[in-house]
Amino acid sequence: MDDRERGYFFLSQVAANTAGRSLELLRELEPSELLEISGNEIPGFGIPADLCEMAEYERLRDPALLDTLYEQTEKKGLRFLSREHPDFPEEFLQLPDLPAGIYVRGELPGKTQQKVSIVGSRRCSEYGKECAFFFGKELAKAGVHIVSGMALGVDGYAQRGALSVSESVSFPEGHRFTTAILGGGADICYPRENIGLFRSILDSGGCILSEKPPGYRAKPYDFPKRNRLISAYGACLAVIEAAERSGTRTTVDHALSLGKDVFAVPGRIGERMSLGCNELLKSGAHMLTCPEDILQYLGLQVQSDTKKPVRILMSPEEKEIYDCIGEDPVLIDDLLLRSNFPVSLILEILIRLEMKGAIQKSALSGYVRVLT
């Protein structure tokens, strides 16, 4: 670690506990000089440092402590990449508040690989989950790298979708499926429920990334800042589902301020979880109704063979029931009214149609056709 790297490492450690304002030091100083400056001199650089920050600054300025911290980082399997490191993702360089460095666990995607950020509500609907998984999967199939925040709801499902491709489609060595950018340290799985996802991202060769040092537990105010990294990393941003007021909004704002295009999946009017996306569409976001929308935008080859509709063979009875089922959930009671079959027969037909992949149970206690 040379002096510049060391300076950045020092600064990233300080920044974690000082809301990032210490980064302003870099306007006046070279990173290698940082360690020479004592806390008392900071106010001279025009930074309104309060006592607490200065104490933290002084504590970390100890070279022995810095060495231990750096060692610990490596021991935990994390890599520190300063903003000047050759591996530091170029995408972040456009950020006005560029972090001093990032901590990476796993492997960063190749610089040439196309990246798309997918975000959405944590408390999404079943439809939202399905959509997130679908877009994650379809884009990953076309070789796109999915960037998201590994949160509950849309984020997590988009990444699961991307990972689901890893077994069925073969890519050249070194292909990465997804990156999770966390609000806390990259060694901590947050939220805890997604520990399975956390592991499989690493197993797939993907990466977990954070600007916070290892061991740092995310505070609520860290997430909007994390979102700027998510929006910066992808070539464009796809919003799957969002309520009117949501954290997704900050990601969108960051993307817009970086000049990125925003895609939004339209939702039904009147649904709480559709308001955010529909609002985005109204104010000019791209309409996202199929993966090709993004693939074309990225200039990628659209695979045509996926569009071939599969014909499902059905008995006349199955056909009769199938014809009663549309895109809106249909209850068994409705089917009883529309056909003359006894309940037991309807139950049988529904299970058969479900196994044939023609229909599926909808989230709202009923059956819907499977989208083809």
Binding site: R122, R123, C124, S125, E126, G128, L152, G153, P191, E193, G270, E271, R272, M273, L331, I332, D333, D334, L336, L337, V343, S344, L345, I346, L347, E348, I349, L350, I351, R352, E354, M355, G357, K361, A363, L364, S365, G366
Partner: protein
């Protein structure tokens, strides 16, 4: 002078023979009672003394000792007053021993010599019959209950004086009312036809009833889960005579038998509130008492808002559900209470009740998960049928004019299936498909080639867990029995698979 009288103590739901001996002799005036007595039995001394006095029976000053044997059985309950009084009267030579020997006595005394009703009379009368007594003397309030037991004469009296009269003259008075009082049916019976729509739920309830399978209904509030559960007893076949006595006995011991009704004729329906304690559910107490599960014996145990029940309470149900009997051990012995129930449960999919309708449900995914995870896998494994109870559009249903199946039609299906199962499992010690285990499942739930293929495909496509396998087979067997089919067909199997759908959706297999 010495007198001896038979009575009984209740252990669990069984009567245990207790002999009351009274000895009267010269000495300083005293009245002692011995024989491992509970405090309510020890207090009998005061009641008996006053009752005798107020009936006009003088107890001359002298040494009076009453012993209740066997001495190692703890006597509790309020039925010992009358036998103690009769034993004393025999010891005093007021009543002839050869008359009192032919009877068994039970009853509580009031100070004025009246006889009050007690609980557990049925078990007492059954024991008296086994002991070969001619007559069982019980409080008048309990006469009807006791009279249900044939092969012994049950006489009810409301005063000590009448008992004396009867024993002295052998005059039975008027013939007691026979054991089968008028078949009094409630004026308004709930009926399945009152539930509009929800045909799939009704079907699930009927299949569950036909094989006594556990049933779990999942759905938002106000969709008819409780209504359905309350109507399940109406589609179960009527209680047989033995079952009536068995149920009445448990209720009698618990003091819950309506004295005017005699035996219990309707299948019990118990729905304990979710604040119930573990011992109130399966039975317990210093002297064990039957719990809700035993009270629901031969009937329906309905647990509404299942996840609200404390985990510890639900877990104690696992063994009694499996063995159909709960054994409670105490220092003085163990007590058996039968618990053959049909378990019916209802729950909301999340705390607010509307998940996965995101327009109404405000629970986070973690909250939903936490709510559902209150139910343990082992408990869910004892529930064969899980069905979703969707919200229905009332206007659409009332316009359609379809009233759906009523209880009578459903009951017909259930009765037929019960008969087939009874015939098939004769001599196996089980009655229903739900009780099949291990090897028997493979023996009785044979699948043809097409069915086997369907099942394999379902496991692959629908991602069912291995646990679901046996339950699907058992339910398929019941569905076939409802149709009167010898072999399980693909239709039966598909229906059984569909009852795993809700389970899969909410609990992931």
């Amino acid at each position: 002078m010495f007198g001896r009288v038979d009575t009984s103590a209740i252990v669990g739901i069984e009567g245990r023979r207790v002999i009351v001996e009274a000895d009267y002799g010269q000495g300083l005036p005293a009245f002692d009672m011995v024989g491992f007595l509970g405090s309510e039995v020890r207090e009998a001394r005061e009641r008996v003394r006053s009752a005798l006095k107020n009936t006009g029976i003088p107890v001359p000053p002298g040494r009076l000792t009453v012993n209740l044997s066997p001495a190692d059985l703890r006597k509790t309950g309020n039925g010992f007053d009358l036998p103690v009084a009769v034993a004393i009267m025999t010891a005093l030579g007021i009543l002839p021993q050869e008359m009192t020997e032919r009877c068994s006595f039970v009853g509580e005394l009031s100070l004025d010599g009246g006889i009050r009703g007690i609980s557990g009379v049925l078990s007492h009368v059954i024991l008296a019959r086994e002991l070969g007594k001619e007559c069982c003397i019980v409080p008048r309030e309990n006469e009807r209950e006791g009279a249900a037991i044939s092969g012994i004469r049950t006489c009810g009296f409301s005063e000590l004086r009448e008992v004396m009269q009867f024993l002295l003259t052998g005059d039975y008075g008027e013939a007691p009312p026979d054991g089968q009082p008028d078949e009094k049916m409630p004026e308004h019976m709930p009926d399945f036809s009152e539930i509009l729509g929800q045909e799939s739920v009704k079907r699930a309830a009927a299949v569950a009833s036909a094989g006594m399978h556990g049933l779990l209904m999942i759905g938002p509030p106000g969709t008819g889960k409780t209504l359905t559960a309350k109507r399940i007893p109406t589609i179960l076949p009527p209680l047989t005579e033995d079952e009536q006595i068995e149920c009445s006995r448990i209720h009698s011991v618990a003091g819950l038998l309506d004295p005017s009704e005699g035996l219990i004729r309707m299948r019990p329906f118990r729905s304990p509130h979710h604040t119930v304690s573990a011992s109130a559910l399966v039975g317990g107490g210093v002297m064990p008492h039957p719990g809700e599960m035993s009270l629901a014996h031969n009937g329906v145990l309905f647990l509404d808002e299942l996840p609200e029940f404390p985990k510890s309470v639900l877990e104690v149900m696992r063994q009694p559900l499996e063995d159909h009997v709960v054994i409670i051990s105490r220092v003085h012995g163990s007590y058996r209470f039968p618990t053959r129930v049909m378990l019916v449960c209802a729950m909301n999919p999340c705390r607010c009740g509307y998940y996965p309708d995101r327009n109404r449900c405000k629970c986070s995914e973690a909250e939903v998960h936490q709510y559902l995870s209150r139910l343990s896998r082992p408990l869910l494994d004892r529930i064969d049928i899980a069905c979703e109870v969707p919200r229905v559009d009332i206007r659409k249903l009332s316009d359609s004019g379809v009233s759906g199946k009523d209880s009578a039609a459903l009951r017909e299906m259930v009765v037929r299936a019960w008969e087939i199962q009874k015939e098939r499992y004769r001599g196996l010690g089980i009655l229903f498909n739900s009780q099949l285990q291990g090897r028997d499942i493979r023996k009785y739930c044979v699948l043809g080639k097409a069915e086997q293929e369907l099942l394999t495909e379902a496991f692959e496509k629908l991602e069912l867990s291995a646990r679901a396998h046996d339950r699907i087979l058992k339910v398929a067997r019941t569905a076939a029995d409802i149709d009167g089919a010898e072999q399980i067909g693909t239709a039966h199997l598909a229906e059984a698979i569909s009852y795993r759908a809700a389970d899969r959706k909410f609990f992931g297999g």
